[in-house]
């Protein structure tokens, strides 16, 4: 069976509401979130979404604030496809897919104001906490956006801030308070196949269908970030429908995996 035939087969099955792993179109794969996977990080989490595996980590240090937000902490993000995660991943400068992944996850957290950056200001205009949010992909079996967003959110919740002395020297061994938070926000990516909408796609499915909309929703059900990807297009109705799916799924995920752990 050639690659083309496989793709056609996957598409035809999806049109009949059938997926390779017997899931429903709007059903996520099994999700496990393990926190504290790298003790040297302020916070970290490993997310397994089916066979997709992503680790996110939070590191913190002190930096100058940006000129246009002198009283706020700073967020710096990166996403990296480790060469071990898939045969097609190459070491070297991050490609455009990695850049987009990092920026979409970053904006989801930033625009939802998940972290209360005003509380990360130490001396206005001079010294603020800088939060590094790094995402590494360990195994790529599709839906890296949602897995990365889940890992980032879990790492943020896992994080304990290091302490500083009077001379602003950081003690990474004495980590005390959690990061100040205002909400929880998660991305849900919905892909389009003919007139079907499908979530949490595997790598095989993403070979066959490629147009997606990622919607980040917060605890209150509001949308903080959207990003369309892939060559195809959407109608207004589809976009609204996708927003609703994302809202519903985010709500379920927060209830099941985050709610109890947030204070």
């Amino acid at each position: 069976m050639t690659a083309k035939l496989t793709k056609d087969y996957i598409v035809n099955q999806i049109k009949r509401n059938i997926r390779g792993d017997d899931r429903k179109l709007d059903e996520m794969r099994e999700l496990t979130i393990e926190r504290g996977v790298s003790a040297n990080a302020e916070g970290s989490a490993r997310v397994k979404l089916g066979k997709t595996e992503v680790i996110a980590g939070i590191k913190m240090d002190l930096a100058e604030p940006y000129p246009d937000s002198q009283d706020k902490g700073v967020l710096t993000s990166s996403a990296e496809f480790l060469p071990l995660a898939a045969p097609e991943f190459e070491a070297g400068r991050p490609g455009e897919v990695e850049v987009e992944l990092g920026r979409v996850v970053d904006r989801g957290i930033r625009e939802a104001e998940v972290i209360d950056f005003k509380k990360l200001c130490i001396v206005e205009g001079e010294k603020v906490w800088r939060v590094f949010m790094d995402i590494v992909v360990i195994n790529h079996d599709g839906n890296l956006m949602d897995a990365s967003g889940l890992a980032a959110m879990a790492a943020i919740l896992d994080a304990k801030m290091p302490t500083i002395d009077k001379e602003y020297k950081i003690d990474y061994n004495k980590r005390e308070k959690p990061l100040p938070l205002t909400t929880i926000a998660l991305p849900i990516t919905v892909m389009k196949c003919g007139n079907k909408l499908i979530i949490d796609t595997t790598a095989d499915e993403e070979e066959a269908i490629d147009t997606r909309l990622t919607v980040t929703t917060n605890e209150s059900g509001n949308i903080s970030s959207m990003q369309k990807g892939g060559p195809g297009g959407f109608t207004v109705e589809e976009i609204v429908e996708i927003c609703k799916i994302a809202g519903k799924k985010t709500d379920e995920l927060i209830k099941k995996h985050f709610k109890s752990k947030k204070k």
């Binding site: 246009d68 909309l213 195809g232 109608t235 809202g247």
Partner: protein, 252 residues
């Protein structure tokens, strides 16, 4: 842009006044009105197609080279043309000088613009070929990416590359609770502002680019997206006119 943002924000807060009064915006526009849009096709002599766009005070040049041979050859696709899209801000297009070269923002924007155009161009008509699209921001205010796509679309048509239609692009959003079309920098800096850039195949209403930052309900998103539909249809007319002007000039 940061320094300017800062100032604008300060101004807004100090004045404690609304920007938008009775549906009229600071520059006199109605809520669903785009900024003045000037388009000129055929501005780069060496290119196969090109366009200059002034969208409000944002200025952009786009040029298209191709279909042409793929270099290096092992990159070629035997089924269709490959699309190489570059988006760049020239160093003095912004208040805080930008170092020459591509940063993460420009890489991301080039990617989403490439995906916005990919299905609209009949790439399969040019197997083993490359089509290069370059967009250069000359002066950056609000809406650089939508101005860039609007220019690229005209440049593609100017190059005679067959497409399913013109791609038009505009942002809409929320300012002080109002749903407005085509925000200015000043409006983007209002504290409740949302900005939602869209690209659309105006002929069919198909949305091929969509990004959004902010905090909005699904209802608001729907209203904002609907407003961009009107904007894109307005823009498509101006794009078409620019192409006809170019054609007439050539045949005159």
């Amino acid at each position: 842009m940061k320094s300017r943002n800062c100032l604008k924000k300060a101004k807004v807060i100090l004045m404690s006044e609304k920007l938008i009064n009775k549906g009229i915006r600071p520059d006199g526009r109605k809520l669903d009105e785009i900024r003045p849009l000037k388009i000129k096709a055929g501005v780069v002599d060496r290119a196969d197609g090109s366009a200059y766009v002034e969208f409000g005070t944002t200025k952009v040049i786009s040029a298209v080279y191709g279909p042409k041979k793929v270099h290096p050859r092992h990159m070629e696709n035997s089924k269709k043309a490959i699309l190489k899209v570059r988006y760049n801000m020239i160093p003095f297009s912004v208040y805080d000088r930008k170092r020459p070269g591509y940063d993460k923002r420009s890489v991301e924007i080039a990617k989403v613009i490439s995906e916005a155009l990919e299905n609209v161009i009949f790439l399969e008509e040019f197997p083993k070929s490359a089509i290069d699209i370059d967009m250069e921001i000359i002066q950056a205010d609000a809406g650089t990416r939508v101005a860039a796509i609007t220019a690229a679309s005209v440049a593609l048509a100017d190059a005679g590359i067959p497409m399913r239609g013109l791609i038009s692009s505009v942002a809409a959003g929320r300012v002080e609770g109002n749903i407005v079309l085509d925000l200015t920098k000043e409006e983007e800096d209002v504290s409740d502002a949302i900005d939602l850039p869209i690209a659309m195949l105006a002929r069919t209403g198909e949305i091929t680019l969509l990004q959004m930052d902010g905090d909005a309900s699904v209802d608001e998103i729907e209203k904002i997206v609907r407003m961009t539909e009107k904007g894109c249809r307005d823009i498509e007319k101006i794009q078409g006119k620019a192409l006809i002007e170019k054609y007439n000039a050539n045949t005159a």
